[in-house]
C-alpha cells in the first residue's frame, strides 16, 4: 500500500486521489471538488474532495464540510503557493476540522510552512523519501506571525 505522512507519522494511505474522470468512485475516493459540487446528491459516499489551484475555497462556503474526512489541495508546481491560502481559509474561515492533505508537486522543504497554514497530511510524489521528509516535518520554533496553531502574532507572545 502507498504511504503518506499524517500527523507526523508515516502511515498507509487508504484513500485514493481521484485525478482521472474515468476512475471509479468508491468510499475511499478523494474526488475533485468541482465534480463533488456538481454531483453532490448522486455521487454517493466519498472520503473527501480535493481543490485544484485556481478553485479557491469560496465554492465551499456555506456547505456542510463535516461529512468530509479529508480535503486535499493540489500543488501543480511547488512554487505555486495558492494552496497555502486555501488551507488557511479552510481552517480559519470555513471552520473545517478534518484532515487537510497536500497533494502533488510540493516538496519536503515546504513542510514547515505547510504545517503552519493547516495541512496535517502529506501525499508526496513517489520519488520523495518519506523518512528523509519526516526530518523536515517541523516549523522553525519561532513564528513572528499568528498561524493556525496559534493565531497570536509574536507581539502577543513576547
Amino acid at each position: 500500500m502507498p504511504k503518506l505522512i499524517k500527523n507526523g507519522e508515516i502511515i498507509d494511505n487508504t484513500y485514493v486521489w481521484l485525478q482521472d474522470e474515468e476512475q471509479e468512485i468508491t468510499p475511499n475516493s478523494i474526488v475533485p471538488a468541482q465534480k463533488w459540487l456538481a454531483e453532490k446528491d448522486s455521487i454517493g459516499d466519498v472520503a473527501g474532495i480535493w481543490l485544484e489551484a485556481g478553485d479557491g475555497v469560496e465554492c465551499l462556503q456555506g456547505l456542510d464540510l463535516s461529512e468530509l474526512d479529508v480535503i486535499g489541495i493540489n500543488f501543480p508546481a511547488f512554487v505555486d503557493g495558492r494552496g497555502f491560502s486555501y488551507a488557511r481559509l479552510l481552517k480559519e474561515r470555513l471552520n473545517y476540522k478534518g484532515e487537510i492533505r497536500a497533494l502533488g508537486n510540493f516538496i519536503p522543504d515546504q513542510l514547515g510552512y505547510l504545517l503552519r497554514v493547516g495541512f496535517n497530511s502529506f501525499q508526496f510524489n513517489d520519488e520523495v523519501d518519506l523518512e528523509k521528509a519526516l526530518a523536515l516535518h517541523r516549523p522553525l520554533s519561532i513564528a513572528y506571525q499568528g498561524d493556525v496553531t496559534d493565531p497570536r502574532p509574536i507581539f502577543l507572545r513576547r
Binding site: 511547488f78 503557493g81 497555502f84 474561515r93 497570536r152
Partner: protein, 553 residues
C-alpha cells in the same frame, strides 16, 4: 536601532542551520537543481555570470558600525574585498562560493544579520527614507513601522510562494519621497488624521520591470493598528489571484490594472472584513516597544552654524561645495546629516571596498553614534554629525573616496551591476556609468545643471530603476551587440512618473554624447531655477528628441 532579543536571535540561528542542511543536501544531490533554486533565492543567493551572488539584508537600510565591519570582514575572507550596495538598501557580495554561504550566514547571525527573503517570490526587505528619524518635517519616525513589517513578513507561512516578488517601501514626510514608494508593490505613506491618529495611506500596484507603473491609492487612511491585517488581506488576494502562468505578468501591478482599483479594493475589503480586529491587530504596547529602539541618541545642546563651520565655508570652496551638496538639514540644532557618496569616478556606483567599509564604520563610531544608513541612491549616510566636526569628517571622507560632492547631480547615478556580473543583463551598465563620469567631470557645470536623477539598468528587469530616472538608460541586446535606449521624464518622488523613450537606441560610445545634447536642450530652455524634470514637463519630449537625433551639419 532595533536589537534582537533571544527570540529574534534564535530564529536567525535556526534559519542558518536550515539553510546549511539545504546546501548540504543540494551538494550531495538529494535536492534537485529545481528544488534548490527557490530555496536559495529565498536566502538571497543567485547564481550569476561568474559566481554566485549573495544579497545580505539590511532592513530599511539601518547598519551599525559593528555590522558594517562584519560585512567588510566577510568580503575580505569570502569574497574579493568589496561589496555592492543596492537600490533596496541591501548589500550584494559578488563572488562568494556556494558552499561557503552557510558559514557566511552564521557569521552574519553573530551581528544580528541575515539574507532572509532578499530574493525569490516572497516579501522582500522593507525600505524607507535614509533620513528617517533625523529630519524635522517627518510625521513620525517610520523605522518602528518598518521593523513591524519586517517581522510580519519574515517567514510568513502563507506568502512564501507568491506569484512574483513583493516589495514594500515606507515614507513619512510630505516634503520628499526618498524611497520611491510609488513604484513599489505596496507604498506606505505615514499620515496623521484630523484627530492626530497615526495611520497609512496605502498605495498598491506600482513597480518597474517590463511594465512600469506608478501605484494607485487603495486607501487614504488606514489606522496603524490595522496595518498588518490590511496587508494580510492585500497579500491574500494577490496570492490567490495573481498570474501564475507568465512571470512577466505576475506582479501585483498587473492584477490591479486588470481588475481595476475599484474591484481590487472591493476584494481586499471583503477579505479584510474577516481579519479586521483579530489577533494581528497591533496593540499600542507593540508600537511603544518598537519605538523605544529608535529613541534619540544622546545629542548635545548645540547651535547651528558654529564658528568652525562658518569659517571653513568661507575659506574652502571645496568644503563649501561638499557641504552644499552632500549634507542635509538635521532636526537638531548643531547637527547635520552627511552622505558618504559611493560614486567616486572609476568605481562602480554603489560599490565599496572592504577598506572603505572599515573606514565608514570608523567614521560612524567617531562622528555618528556608531550607526549608518544605506540609501536608495546607493550611498552611505551618517545621520547625526556635529556641525563643528564636519571639517574633520570631510578631510577623512575625501581621502577614502566618500566625498565626491555630487549628491543628487547628474553623476550621482543609480546603476545595476549589469552585464559585467549579472546573468539577466542584456548589456553592461558600469562602463556607461564610467563614460558619463568621464564626460561630466566639471563640477561647475554639474552644479549649474542642478538636480538630475540618471538611472542605468542593464536589462528590462530595471534593477537600476531607469524608468524613474529623469534620464533613464536601458541596456538592450540587438543581434548580440549592446545598445542603449534612453528615456527622459521619469521621477521617483511624490511626483512619480515613468519616463518616455526618446527613440531608437544608441551605441555604447554614443551615450554620453547624447546625454550632453539633452543637457544642452535643457540649458537653452530652462527658466531660472527650473530643474531638468520641470523643464522637460513644460516643453515636452520633442526638442530633446530633435536634438538627440539631429544629423550633424
Amino acid at each position: 536601532m532595533y536589537q534582537y532579543d533571544a527570540i529574534d536571535q534564535q530564529l536567525v540561528e535556526e534559519r542558518v542551520a536550515q539553510y546549511r542542511d539545504q546546501t548540504r543536501r543540494y551538494l550531495n544531490k538529494e535536492l534537485s537543481e529545481e528544488a534548490f533554486l527557490p530555496l536559495r533565492l529565498q536566502n538571497g543567493l543567485y547564481i550569476q555570470r561568474h559566481a554566485p551572488m549573495l544579497r545580505v539584508a539590511i532592513p530599511y537600510g539601518m547598519l551599525s558600525s559593528t555590522q558594517l565591519r562584519k560585512l567588510a570582514d566577510i568580503s575580505l575572507r569570502y569574497d574579493r574585498s568589496y561589496g555592492h550596495f543596492s537600490t533596496r538598501q541591501n548589500l550584494q557580495l559578488n563572488w562568494p562560493k556556494l558552499e561557503d554561504v552557510p558559514d557566511i550566514l552564521a557569521e552574519l547571525a553573530e551581528v544580528q544579520m541575515h539574507a532572509v527573503q532578499t530574493s525569490g517570490n516572497c516579501i522582500r526587505n522593507t525600505t524607507t527614507d535614509q533620513y528617517a528619524g533625523v529630519i524635522a518635517d517627518e510625521i513620525v519616525d517610520p523605522r518602528p513601522y518598518c521593523e513591524l513589517i519586517r517581522q510580519w513578513s519574515t517567514f510568513h507561512p502563507e506568502f512564501a510562494f507568491l506569484p512574483r516578488k513583493f516589495k514594500i517601501a515606507v515614507n513619512a514626510t510630505e516634503s520628499a519621497d526618498r524611497a520611491a514608494t510609488q513604484v513599489h508593490d505596496i507604498g506606505l505613506h505615514i499620515k496623521k488624521n484630523d484627530a492626530g491618529e497615526i495611520g497609512f495611506k496605502i498605495i498598491v500596484g506600482g513597480g518597474l520591470g517590463r511594465t512600469p507603473m506608478v501605484g494607485v491609492t487603495i486607501t487614504e487612511f488606514m489606522p496603524r493598528k490595522d496595518l498588518l491585517t490590511y496587508l494580510d488581506a492585500i497579500l491574500r488576494v494577490y496570492n490567490q489571484n495573481g498570474n501564475r502562468q507568465n512571470k512577466y505578468k505576475a506582479r501585483i501591478k498587473i492584477l490591479v490594472k486588470a481588475l481595476g482599483i475599484e474591484e481590487f479594493r472591493k476584494r481586499v475589503e471583503a477579505e479584510w472584513a474577516h481579519l479586521k480586529g483579530k489577533e494581528s491587530t497591533v496593540p499600542m504596547s507593540e508600537f511603544d516597544r518598537l519605538s523605544r529602539f529608535f529613541s534619540e541618541p544622546a545629542y548635545e545642546a548645540l547651535t547651528n552654524q558654529p564658528q568652525e563651520l562658518i569659517s571653513k565655508l568661507a575659506d574652502s570652496a571645496g568644503f563649501a561645495r561638499w557641504y552644499e551638496r552632500n549634507t542635509f538639514d538635521h532636526k537638531k540644532p548643531g547637527y547635520r546629516i552627511v552622505t558618504l557618496t559611493l560614486k567616486k569616478p572609476g568605481q562602480a556606483p554603489g560599490d565599496a571596498t572592504a577598506e572603505q567599509m572599515f573606514k565608514a564604520a570608523d567614521l560612524a563610531d567617531k562622528f555618528g553614534f556608531g550607526e549608518l544608513r544605506v540609501s536608495h541612491e546607493q550611498n552611505l549616510v551618517l545621520a547625526d554629525v556635529r556641525q563643528d566636526q564636519l571639517t574633520e569628517l570631510w578631510e577623512v571622507a575625501k581621502e577614502f573616496g566618500f566625498a565626491t560632492p555630487t549628491l543628487g547631480l547628474l553623476t550621482d547615478m543609480i546603476c545595476c551591476p549589469g552585464g559585467d556580473f549579472c546573468n539577466l543583463a542584456n548589456a553592461k551598465s558600469i562602463p556607461i556609468a564610467d563614460q558619463i563620469q568621464d564626460t561630466f567631470n566639471d563640477l561647475d557645470y554639474l552644479y549649474d545643471l542642478g538636480n538630475i536623477d540618471l538611472n542605468i539598468s542593464g536589462c528590462m528587469n530595471a534593477c537600476g530603476h531607469h524608468h524613474v530616472g529623469n534620464i533613464g538608460i536601458l541596456g538592450v541586446d540587438k543581434k548580440g551587440e549592446e545598445f542603449y535606449q534612453i528615456s527622459i521624464g521619469g521621477a521617483s518622488g511624490h511626483d512619480a512618473s515613468i519616463g518616455k523613450i526618446l527613440g531608437p537606441s544608441f551605441g555604447q560610445e554614443e551615450v554620453s554624447g547624447i546625454i550632453q545634447k539633452l543637457m544642452n536642450v535643457y540649458v537653452e530652455n530652462r527658466s531660472e531655477e527650473e530643474r531638468f524634470i520641470d523643464t522637460y514637463r513644460r516643453v515636452g519630449i520633442t526638442p530633446f528628441k530633435e536634438a538627440a537625433y539631429a544629423k550633424a551639419n
